[in-house]
């Protein structure tokens, strides 16, 4: 079904992929900044709550949308089902996306725990993981645009 959708509506898939990834980037940016600066402001608990809720309510759905749209676009591409003909940039995207998903889940869980048990190291670790996700997203976005061989 994804293959049929991808073939018939590639533009919609691309819009959801780029839009989802960009919103995900924004959500992770919010989480990174709020968690890394939480201890330096008057209302640290508010920032920790915002970080967790942003990751959960904005980041997670955006990640799901951009990942499903990526599959949608891949299925419409000229590459074989076994992935043997896939270009390098697609592989870079998959590696960063899969690794990013793992880091994102850990960051989300730590941010959630930090809301209930406000310990500085939980927020900071979650914030650092968010920064790593952001670096990965920059590399993946570059790969999607420049399409290195």
């Amino acid at each position: 079904m994804i293959a049929v959708l991808g073939a018939s509506r590639p533009e919609l898939g691309l819009l959801l992929h780029i839009g989802g990834a960009a919103v995900f980037f924004g959500a992770v940016t919010v989480a990174a900044v709020t968690q890394l600066t939480a201890t330096k402001v008057a209302e640290p608990d508010r920032l920790r709550r915002v970080a967790f809720r942003t990751l959960l309510i904005v980041g997670l759905p955006a990640f799901i949308v951009f990942r499903i749209a990526a599959e949608w676009l891949r299925s419409a591409g000229p590459w074989g089902d076994n992935g043997s003909d896939e270009p390098a940039w697609l592989g870079i995207g998959y590696i960063i996306s899969d690794l990013g998903a793992l880091l994102f889940l850990i960051s989300l869980i730590l941010a959630g725990i930090a809301v209930w048990k406000p310990k500085g190291w939980l927020s900071k670790t979650s914030g650092v993981l968010s920064v790593l996700i952001l670096i990965g997203l920059v590399v993946a976005t570059w790969a999607m645009g420049a399409k290195p061989d």
């Binding site: 839009g19 940016t29 508010r46 570059w142």
Partner: protein, 158 residues
């Protein structure tokens, strides 16, 4: 890889930065919705600064690298309808963004003054963090940026 591949990558990165900034500002507006607590507003100052950096990179990068691509890629022209539409929409988004920035900058300054004077609550601050002019121009700019994305991807008339 050719130069145009790099320019396209930078154009895409700029677009991601712009949408990410709009997402960050939207989260701030929702998180601080009608708050009368100046300390809460000032807590988000650093996020606001990061958002400003992203929106600056995104705004300049999208137009500079976008126009560059329209000139250097053989299949596109600067006077293509979808390119002109994108440039007009970009200008509208910038004008709306400037108004939003001015509105919320004044609110942030008000919050900082309230904090320094020791005022715990302010009804004026709550009004400014609600359905103010800056609130509406923000959401209008979000709609315009979504329209730019749609135009860039569908390329009507290309």
């Amino acid at each position: 890889m050719e130069l145009n591949d790099w320019i396209l990558a930078l154009h895409l990165l700029s677009a991601v930065a712009l949408v990410a900034a709009m997402t960050a500002f939207s989260v701030m507006i929702v998180a601080l919705w009608r708050t009368d607590d100046p300390a809460a507003v000032t807590s988000f100052m650093r996020l606001g600064m990061v958002g400003n950096v992203l929106v600056t990179i995104g705004s300049i990068g999208t137009i500079v690298f976008g126009v560059w691509l329209a000139i250097s890629v053989d299949t596109y022209e600067l006077w293509d309808g979808w390119v002109i539409a994108a440039i007009i929409l970009w200008a509208i988004a910038m004008a709306l963004g400037r108004q939003t920035g001015e509105g919320y900058r004044a609110t942030a300054e008000m919050a900082a003054q309230l904090v320094s004077s020791g005022s715990p609550r302010s009804p004026e601050l709550a009004a400014a963090m609600g359905t103010s002019r800056a609130f509406w121009t923000h959401w209008l700019s979000v709609i315009v940026i979504v329209l730019i994305l749609v135009d860039m991807i569908w390329k009507p008339g290309a």
